[in-house]
């Protein structure tokens, strides 16, 4: 259509004094923004096609390119914002659901930024993590009510005593997932991200002693070697699920929902189902991989319990089986039901959690922030005396080590990082994952693009991120005079809110800054 009702989101500033016409930008852009004109040895750029991924800017050897976000030139209107206008124009053009990628970018309150962490002064000593041992090892799985020993019988409140690991002199607990740091990689399927990205995640998790998650894409045969550090997911499409897959993983996660799109299934278009993806997902090549919105065998908590125990039986009660849900309004009773259904861990994915593709209207309007969800779930499970039955994994925009430590102090056992891991591998949050044209070689299956992510480099960067965050977590713990992450879990006395209302503070279960005991 000749008529353009909206303008480009970015302007491409090219400093001709610096541009040497080397054409790296031309070769690197999968959106064909840059074009070389040989007649006068110049490069012209079409900003309408630019998605703001900054690949050209990062690759330019002379720093001649600058991608700037452009303010839309609509008349200022606080009600009809430019975002609304642009969406209406786009929908009036195409008549479809607006798709987007990554987590919500709407300015909802980020509670992490309104929570402050404590430190020791005078009354108790702080600890120097460089000189004294700090323990951040984390165990995910069912814990016992109290220290129990074989032959002493189950403790009060134990729902079942099957599947317990019996050690001669140790306490009786369910199968545990041992992590060297309370940070795991979120579920990202092979299909939604490239094989090289999956491999980098698997290798980094394996080397660091944490876990990555297959998402619903099945486990690629070349990654079988990293199975001891793999959480295998069972989602509504059941792609790639068989007995071998279930038995290979370190833990099993039943995916009910995802933070970016609660209540919505998934759709991997047929063109992304390459030969390798088809083998891994166990579906015909080129066929659409459709994950239904619900699991068609789960219509109640009882049905969920059936699946949990079916999976436990299938794997000989040898590994934790968890359930992933998105944080929705009634997350606390839902979580309670899940725990009672026999889950060994719950993964809660908050409002700002990422995705490879989701309807924008769902991503930006459905769910609740993860901070509130952790607090309310932890509180409810404690009230009901079932908190120890399941570990809580929190996800949905964990951006830094301080977010990790705040999540744990609010009551999470560990956190999942998805977006942060992709950013470590180069992602620039352009939110165009659904196009399959990821210039960073992450969210694509195009062989021209996937080779841009060298898994060796990706692995090194992920390891560095995990190492850096772990060191920072130790610094914060030491400053608060705590030498083991276990002692921080659910310890909300170490948190204070700033700029929060009474209601928010009471849901978070924390005092306001300045309040003391």
């Amino acid at each position: 259509m000749a008529l353009k009702l909206y303008q480009s989101e970015f302007s491409i500033e090219r400093d001709v004094e610096k541009c040497i016409s080397c054409q790296v930008c031309v070769r690197q852009c999968s959106n064909d923004v840059h074009e070389y004109i040989s007649e006068n040895d110049t490069i012209i750029s079409d900003s309408m096609k630019c998605v703001g991924c900054h690949r050209c800017e990062s690759m330019c050897p002379t720093g001649a390119i600058r991608i700037e976000e452009r303010e839309p030139h609509f008349k200022t209107n606080y009600n009809w914002s430019s975002g609304h206008l642009k969406n209406i124009y786009r929908q009036a053009d195409a008549g479809g659901v607006l798709l987007t990628g990554m987590g919500s970018d709407k300015p909802y309150p980020v509670y992490w930024d309104h929570i402050l962490f404590n430190a020791s002064q005078v009354t108790n000593p702080s600890i120097d993590p460089l000189r004294e041992p700090m323990e951040i090892k984390t165990f995910i799985g069912r814990k016992s009510v109290q220290q129990q020993y074989p032959g002493c019988g189950p403790g009060p409140g134990e729902i079942r005593d099957t599947g317990k690991k019996k050690e001669k002199n140790g306490p009786v607990v369910g199968p545990q997932l041992e992590l060297s740091t309370p940070v795991l990689f979120s579920a990202m399927s092979y299909g939604s991200i490239s094989f090289n990205a999956c491999r980098a995640l698997a290798e980094a998790a394996s080397e660091f002693g944490t876990c990555y998650n297959t998402g619903e894409g099945g486990l690629h045969r070349d990654l079988y070697g990293y199975a001891p550090n793999t959480i295998v997911q069972v989602a509504s499409g059941r792609f790639g699920v068989d007995r071998q897959y279930l038995n290979m993983g370190a833990a099993i996660e039943i995916k009910i929902g995802q933070g970016a799109k609660p209540g919505i299934g998934g759709h991997l278009p047929g063109e992304k189902v390459t030969e390798d993806v088809s083998i891994t997902r166990m579906i015909p090549m080129g066929s659409d991989a459709i994950s239904p919105a619900p699991h068609h065998d789960i219509y109640s908590i009882e049905d969920l319990a059936q699946l949990i125990y079916a999976l436990k039986e299938a794997t000989g009660w040898s590994k934790p089986v968890g359930v992933k849900v998105s944080a929705v309004h009634n997350i606390a009773p839902i979580a309670s039901g899940i725990v009672r259904a026999g889950a060994d861990f719950i993964t809660i994915d908050g409002l700002r959690g990422g995705t490879g593709a989701a309807p924008q209207v769902t991503r930006d309007n459905v769910g609740i922030p993860i901070e509130l969800a952790i607090a309310s779930v932890d509180e409810r499970l404690r009230e009901e005396g079932i908190r120890h039955f399941a570990s809580i994994l929190a996800a949905g925009s964990i951006r830094s080590s301080s977010d990790v430590i705040k999540a744990i102090a609010l009551g999470a056992d560990a956190v999942n990082i998805g977006t942060a891991a992709l950013v470590a591998m180069g992602c620039h949050l352009c939110q165009k994952c659904y196009t399959g044209k990821c210039n960073w070689g992450i969210a694509t299956q195009d062989p021209y693009l996937t080779k841009r992510l060298n898994p060796e480099v990706g692995k090194r960067r992920l390891l560095n991120l995990l190492r850096a965050w772990s060191l920072e977590i130790k610094e914060l713990l030491g400053g608060a005079g705590i030498n083991a992450i276990e002692s921080l879990r659910g310890n909300r006395e170490h948190l204070r809110g700033i700029g929060l209302s009474e209601k928010e503070l009471s849901i978070l279960g924390i005092k306001h800054a300045g309040e003391t005991w």
Partner: protein, 157 residues
């Protein structure tokens, strides 16, 4: 390369073609390294005519790799050279062309099984080839590859 790599202990450039993006930054930095000013903008804006890249990115479809002189153990270009310009350094193993001695007969180009030698027709006709950036710790093409598709390591490793 010609001859068994293990026969000679030297650091060589290895190609990981599965990670080559075909961005050609290796070529660009090679040109800069062998330019007069060694400053990228100046080299390209003012001196480009004098400089050929000594590494070449070959591309077919999504397959790409950057190839430069393999510094063969048994270098056919050295044997083919009629003027003694092409020499293999016995200590370092690096094959270089003495541009003073080169007469531009192109025998080396015909002998090279990798097509790694080029005709430098600017000024005096001479053979232009990779010198493994002998004054650098790591050749610039390796150092500037954004995806580590080139590796500089000992042959035995």
């Amino acid at each position: 390369m010609r001859g068994k790599p293990g026969d000679e202990a030297m650091k060589r450039i290895f190609i990981k073609e599965e990670y080559c993006l075909g961005c050609r930054l290796c070529e660009i930095y090679c040109q800069v390294k062998h330019s007069k000013s060694k400053k990228i903008i100046k080299a390209f804006k003012e001196e480009l005519v004098d400089v050929l890249p000594r590494v070449l990115v070959e591309e077919i479809g999504h397959n790409a790799f950057a190839i430069q002189c393999r510094h063969c153990v048994d270098a056919p270009c050295v044997a083919a050279c009629i003027s003694g310009a092409m020499q293999k350094n016995k200590n370092t193993g690096v094959v270089t062309c003495d541009e003073e001695k080169c007469v531009g007969c192109w025998s080396c180009i015909m002998a090279c099984p990798y097509g790694a030698i080029k005709r430098d027709l600017v000024g005096r006709k001479i053979a232009s080839k990779c010198d493994l950036c002998e004054d650098e710790d790591i050749p610039v093409c390796v150092k500037n590859c954004p995806n580590e598709a080139l590796e500089f390591r000992d042959t035995g490793e």
